[in-house]
Symmetry: C2
Subunit: 342 residues, 2 copies
Amino acid sequence: MKAIGADRVFTLDEGNLFYEYEREIPEPQEHELLVQVKAISVNPLDTKLRQTTPSETPRVLGFDAVGVVQSVGDEVTLFNEGDKIYYSGSPIYQGSNQTYQLVDERLVGRKPKNLSYNEAASLPLTGLTASETLFDVFQISSNPEENQGKTLLIINGAGGVGSIATQIAKAYGLRVITTASREETKRWSTDMGADIVLNHRNHLVDELKQHDIDEVDYVFCTFNTDMYYETMIDLVKARGTIATIVAFQEKQDLNLLKSKSVTFTHEYMYARVVHQAEDMIKHHEYLTDITEKIEQGIYQPTVTQVMQGLTSDNIYRAHQILEDQRMIGKLVINLEDEHANE
Amino acid sequence: MKAIGADRVFTLDEGNLFYEYEREIPEPQEHELLVQVKAISVNPLDTKLRQTTPSETPRVLGFDAVGVVQSVGDEVTLFNEGDKIYYSGSPIYQGSNQTYQLVDERLVGRKPKNLSYNEAASLPLTGLTASETLFDVFQISSNPEENQGKTLLIINGAGGVGSIATQIAKAYGLRVITTASREETKRWSTDMGADIVLNHRNHLVDELKQHDIDEVDYVFCTFNTDMYYETMIDLVKARGTIATIVAFQEKQDLNLLKSKSVTFTHEYMYARVVHQAEDMIKHHEYLTDITEKIEQGIYQPTVTQVMQGLTSDNIYRAHQILEDQRMIGKLVINLEDEHANE
């Protein structure tokens, strides 16, 4: 089987230090599935992990994957050989930039029947991040009627996470306001279901006032948390909640949260997995819900760009595109043609 | 009527700048009640407010009060003349260090029938702070069975807030671990219902390990948040929640919250009131629940020290005792004898 690895931290201007190598197909144990990977997507998190020291070399990056179950560990109960599945896996395992991969069944969902491998690959990591933020952090109700009248602001609505978060929040009854600045990102965010798209080149407090809104219940930051920290506190209601998925560059004044008794969470989709939380199976449940909504035509996949073939050049080029921070929706790499019979 | 005011910020080593003065008894409007104050309690928040510039002078400090409704505004629906009530009011109004006071009915509870004025005065501010932290921040269930197996750590269990938070958390099914170091504070915290009392002179991670516990679901800090910031993150489970009521002295690294996706809230009991939140009536509801639990013998008042008479000397001495940070339970000042017929 083929994998794309790298031996050390590198920046993209050092050139392409990813390389292709052969490794043994592993055996699944206990709750593990062995998956033949059909398509993957590349996330900003991949580019951040590339810049942290590997615990083993070569390190295989990649989270999102779609594939077919080849064999199962002896404690597996949720899936069978031949099942088509999707997942974003775990940083504890080698990643999805390879033709076969192990994954814990509790982190896996059944692939939506009405999506291609490429379309399905766009969803797991961003869908799980959005689901955890909405249901675990904001604790919105699973009953859309109970969320009526609540408003969510998503900073950077057209990115991968913003795109699926908008759809899930709308389906669960929230009013959704996003930010974008280019014509194409504004249009994309509206297509995803945003009720209002603010121009983040202007001050968001003023932008929001133009729509007669002073404050929102929830703020979800998917871009430059330092820049928006004080603005988010200005924009959230008393006892509201702010979540970010973007690490800070600087220390911050937590006393600013006091006057409105604001709740702040640094959402990290792998917290449950890394700390082996008892409720890891939430990832299976969230993906199952996304599959159902996709099959009912409520959510749409967020893929906007597809590369053909698992090559080190494609992985390198994908990292370049992601680091440019202008990506709309999701970038997918398809493995199927070349490796269908490996 | 008599009030204890001060005209400027002062530290206690400048001497006693509180003074007694006469003012007109005000008229209640709309949702306001006019209350004849019978007893008050003094909180650490009073000493902090004393050190912020007054927006009007003389400024009357004081939050907690127990008293009797004298007259009501024309929109009042919850209370009548003659009702015995308790509350911790609002920083928007002049405080409770006076013989008559206005308060918004939505912030008020009926005084527990089985408590004296002094006993009842110990409860509102600390009870509301604890209720908001448990129900709004930690979002524990109102059904104790659903909280079974969840653990709360309270840093400084024997203080005013810690004492009532322990009782409420126990009544709602949580396991409660507190910290204390002196023999008398350990005993007090155990009397309040703590299952385990850790010695905060030692490192809390080690202290907790001695009880075979690695992590807890919720951490509530009522003492020196800077000192405990990293320790609280170490001690909380993945996707757990930390709340503090103590302002930071320094900026902090919010990225430390990421690995476990920890939620952090700066609890401030007056956020709803200051920002005129639509659900201000929560304070009435929380006090009503506390009254019921007190009358059922489930909670006990936390008063440990009573001063007699509303005098500037008593207010000054109370601030000295609070600033010493060794207070167990609550300090109450009784007004009843001197002013019953004013």
